[in-house]
Amino acid sequence: MKGCETIEELIHLASLHGDLLSTKHLSAFWSRVPQLLNIISSASGPQQKHEQQLKKDLHRILYITTKKLDRFSHTEIVGTILGMAKVVKHYSTSCKNNDSGSSKSYLPIFQDVIFDQSFNAQADLFQSMADISASTQQARLLSNLVYAFALIKQNPILYDGTALFDRVSKHIIDDAGSFEPQGISNILWAYATLEVASCPRLFETFAELMISNTKLLDMFKLQHFANMVWAFSAAHISHTPLFDKVAEVIVTTVGTNFSSPRNFQTYS
């Protein structure tokens, strides 16, 4: 899937394999879609005669995906959710901004497949994926999972009646020390975006962690800081010691290359 350079090529390749697609391939397919939407350079989209076929093929790939959902690993299901959520976000944002970018020509292919006319993600589809993914306990997967659902502004109720964000918050809090800056800022951004009632303890946990672990703050990029302080403000959670600490780090770095983390050259 990674070798595909156009949406048509990707959908064509996946549909050729049909039922033979493994869960790994299906996850790779959905992860590749938003990447290709972001790098479309040609102003011309699919020809109209191909559009219907592409949409039919995409429907089939989605059908195979849902049929095999219970066989997906946690990594695969979270990758799939994140890929689909990014597609929804891509189109909801470009529509809101009245963006005439070339990816718009592919809109009819995805509309009514993974999101509706109002760019709301198909609730049933994401609900079933949430049920399967909610038991994951790996840090990176948890941060990607809540980030994906925040992108589509959904906090689905799981089969046992708990909301996804409430369910996973316990794992996140228990394992807070294992998250990297990107994961922390994504999690806080996600909980603030969805205004989850259970979030104060989660915010407090990360705040204490960041204050007590200077090495962790040294790994933050400005984007992480920006999203993090935005999240605290948007969630109406004040934490002066954290804001002071973050300000100290930013101030010492103004005028230097803040696009790279400090003391951690390999982080990407």
């Binding site: 400005l222 984007q223 800081f225 920006a226 999203n227 302080v229 935005w230 605290f232 403000s233 948007a234 004040s238 002066t240 804001f243 002071d244 300000a247 930013i250 101030v251 103004v254 005028g255 290359n257 803040f258 696009s259």
Partner: protein, 156 residues
């Protein structure tokens, strides 16, 4: 080099949280004024966020920062600004009591030509800003033009 979005989000967050960290705001202001050129990467939302944040914390009058952003905005086509951004811009300058005549004239022109799009909050912000900064006498035409909208606001 700072990403405009990260910079504007950061000052917005500090201002909203009521954390007017003076050193942080001073450093950012100096950086924007001296090191970021003509701010061509800053979209209207970024500029508005920055102005609003500095006006909100209000502990120090960042004259250079407001002057630079005013000069940047008057060079742009205000059609690309939402009226909300323009009303917050006017509100911010009035709050810190910095009058930039050309900027206020351009905002007035934009408000008059797009008065049908004005929301209640935008109208209130604009009128308060122009009255507060002392542009009432010079710019009665905006007040007259927005009168019907004011009537609607008051009835609401």
């Amino acid at each position: 080099m700072f990403n405009p979005q990260d910079l504007s989000i950061t000052v917005w967050a500090y201002a909203t949280a009521g954390e007017p960290h003076p050193l942080l705001f001073k450093k950012f202001a100096t950086h924007i004024v001296n090191e970021l050129g003509d701010l061509h990467d800053f979209i209207p939302q970024h500029l508005t966020n920055i102005l609003w944040s500095y006006a909100k914390v209000g502990e120090h009058k960042y004259m250079d920062l407001f002057d630079k952003i005013a000069r940047v905005i008057v060079k742009r086509d205000l059609a690309s600004f939402e009226l909300r951004n323009l009303s917050i811009t006017a509100w911010s300058f009035a709050t810190v009591n910095i009058l930039h005549s050309t900027l206020f004239d351009n905002i007035s022109d934009a408000a008059i030509s797009r008065k049908c799009e004005l929301q209640t909050q935008d109208t209130t912000n604009l009128l308060w800003a122009f009255a507060s900064i002392g542009r009432v006498d010079d710019d009665l035409r905006m007040f007259v033009s927005l009168l019907p909208r004011v009537k609607e606001v008051m009835q609401a």
